[in-house]
Amino acid sequence: MIETPLITLEGVSKTFGTVQVITDVTVDVRAGKVQVLLGENGAGKSTLIKMMSGVYQPDGGRILVDGIAVSLPNAHAAEKLGIATIHQELNLVESLSIAENVMMGRIPTRFGMVDRKALRSKARDALGRIGLDIDVDTLVGDLGIARQQLVEIAKALSIDARILILDEPTAALTRHETDNLFRVVAELRARGVGMLFISHHLDEIAEIGDTVVVLRDGHFVAEVSASTPQAELVGMMVGRSIDEQYPRRSSPVDTSTAVLKVTGLSAKGRFQDIGFTVHAGEVLGIAGLVGAGRTEVIRAIAGVDTYDSGTISVRGQVLKKGSVGAAIAAEIGHVPEDRKGLGLVLDASVNDNLGYATLASSARMGLPDFSGQRSRAGVIAETLRIRMLNIDQPVRLLSGGNQQKVVFGRWILAQSTVLLLDEPTRGVDVGAKVEIYELINSIAAAGGAVIVVSSELPEVLGISDRIIVMRDGRIAGEVSVSEATQDTIMTLATSDSNRSSQTDED
């Protein structure tokens, strides 16, 4: 009972410059099935998706739609063949209504004017097909991210998409919203839509997928059933044991020396009653779902945002609230979650970007120490092995991993001893990841204190000494790394059962 897949990427390869990112990979999507694409960041998932949606063209191999070889020179060609992609960054105009968004480019007209009645009813039909019941005149900007996503799916289906590519659709969703999305996915599956699903949440795979294609470093590893045990999937994905992936350091934590102490930190609508201590030489992991308030806490400590009550102290000195300058003076360094949007001035040079935190402090009478900065930046770039043409190259031209090293380097140059790292390895390739872990280790080994916020559980487990788990803006629990597993963390991060029992402080 072999039916032709809706779309097949057959032995495709792709090279950018001298780097081969995809080597001879075969993936197909079948009608009424959910194909999961699994791999670490940098394994080539997004490149594959972009081949399917016509953004990139493969250098080798073929693309078959309904068994017929096709070329997809652009996104429009893919769309015409019924291939739609729901990206993480949604493609909606927030200032327009749902109806207008769903019917974008196909707004019905009468006598040259917008036919509002037809517009509404067609949009309503489209929403109805995925069981979404909202007023189609609502502005998209007024919807939450989950509903926006569903609107985008409705839009894709209304242009007869048969192949739906879902790129980490659950990354920004709560558990409840995820369940809702999965209900829609199940319905679509029953109706014969083929889906390609990307997720970093391993537990979602068995829940929603039929088959899994595992990629590693741009190579096809295996295609297995979605019911394959998670440990096995991780093994295939990583291709080595966790021990190698997360280099451990041997230096002990000095629990007698509290470097960073946070007590009773609250900010309305963001987080409540956060308290913890990080000791000299310690790496504290903060786990939790997206939206649990982890980033908000980090930003408050870094002085980026202010807060309502509570105190933050570094080596016994209470930190002025809402002042990045005070945080830097207290040797705090902050690597924000969005390195392009918040971490770097992309058109400025590596040298400049490395020096921003120390620009004023190393200056004399308002004049920067140009030569000193240059030589210090040169040393940092070499120690961190930042791969670049020269130190005057704009950071825009560096790879994600090297860009991230520049943000790190800024704080190493500033001699920060308290590092707040928000998703430090997001979008960083495997090699650079290990280098970043080693960097974290060396800072801790030198007596520094490090906080790592990460949504990748293996990473949190791999590099932390202690893990606190946040849920709904509160600390849901704390686990030492020796007894923590992905399960215990996920349970703390998602369950509501012990909500009543966590008023006590630690």
Binding site: V324, G341, V345, A348, D352, A363, P368
Partner: protein, 322 residues
């Protein structure tokens, strides 16, 4: 091995210089064409004329360069220039303040008006386009209020700014000094380097500990100060502060900065580029005057030049990025 590398270097350097200085190449071509087209172009008197005319535009545009590099825009510079010179004149004629103090007072008024723009933009969260659009109207209105709509005579110190020392007009000397100061601020001070960071990505600058709001206020204050200087230059030339002086000059200043290669989205800009941009504008006007082209057509030509200059720049950046 080093010798072979060196052998390649000069031509590469020249190529890069030309590609980085499209406006300069354009200016040179323009001058050559005008030199061929009319014998009046390359005369000592005309060169000094161009120098005097460019001084006002360029000084305004230097201040504008700071603002644009820092990611903002300042529509008020023309009005602030007029207000500053009028305030200077008023202080001298009606308040009996000494002439030199009236001059300093005029500069101070510009600085304050600029700082208000900066405060409205940084702390009042108004987009700088709106904040300075409001100031454009307010400053022009105040100019008319102070003067009652009539010109006011300027102090001798201000008139000196419009005179000559020997054969050299003072405005040209002021221009050279202002360019030097502007270049120094932009390239050699913490403030200047911070402007690039704020304009390139103000959130990243803030998260790196740069005092973004203070920088923005200072940048606009500097723009106001440079505008005041330009206004005083203008008043000095006419020996009077005119209520309708410098109307629309903000557009010349923006054009000069943009022709000079700055990006309106911030983070990119050079004082030398701005200077060349101002020269391009003034030389075109001067040349068209010499060729007896009406001022109506001049506006058409200037518009096209701006579009062309920026169009080329966009293409150049695109080709480099890919």
């Amino acid at each position: 091995m080093t010798t072979t590398v060196k052998a390649h270097k000069p031509s590469f350097k020249v190529q890069r210089f030309l590609s980085n200085n499209g406006a300069l190449v354009g200016l040179v071509v323009l001058c050559v064409v005008l030199f061929i087209a009319t014998p009046d172009f390359l005369t000592g008197q005309n060169i000094l004329n161009i120098g005097i005319q460019v001084s006002t535009v360029a000084v305004l545009a230097f201040g504008m360069t700071f603002v644009i590099v820092a990611g903002g825009i300042d529509l008020s510079v023309g009005s602030v220039a007029a207000l500053s010179s009028m305030a200077g004149g008023f202080l001298f004629t009606s308040s009996g303040v000494p002439g030199w103090l009236a001059l300093v007072g005029g500069l101070l008024i510009g600085l304050i008006a600029g700082a208000v723009n900066g405060l409205a933009s940084a702390y009042g969260k108004l987009p700088s386009f709106i904040a300075t659009l409001a100031m454009l109207s307010v400053a022009r209105g105040l100019t008319l209020v102070i003067s009652g709509g009539r010109p006011i005579a300027t102090s001798p110190e201000v008139s000196f700014l419009g005179s000559n020392i020997g054969a050299i007009p003072v405005p040209i000397m002021v221009l050279v000094v202002a360019a030097g100061i502007a270049w120094f601020i932009l390239n050699r001070t913490v403030l200047g380097r911070s402007m690039f960071a704020v304009g390139g990505n103000s959130e990243a600058a803030r998260l790196s500990g740069l005092p973004v709001k203070r920088i923005v206020v200072t940048v606009f204050a500097l723009s106001g100060l440079f505008a005041a200087l330009a206004g005083l230059l203008l008043a000095g030339r006419l020996d009077s502060a005119q209520p309708q002086a410098a109307v629309g000059y903000e557009l010349d200043a923006i054009a000069a900065v943009v022709i000079g290669g700055a990006s309106l989205s911030g983070g990119v800009g050079r004082i030398s580029g701005t200077f060349v941009g101002a020269l391009v504008l003034v030389v075109i006007r001067n040349g068209l005057n010499l060729l007896n082209v009406t001022s109506f057509w001049q506006q058409v030509v200037i518009g096209l030049v701006i579009a062309l200059a920026v169009g080329f720049d966009v293409l150049r950046r695109k080709s480099r990025r890919s």
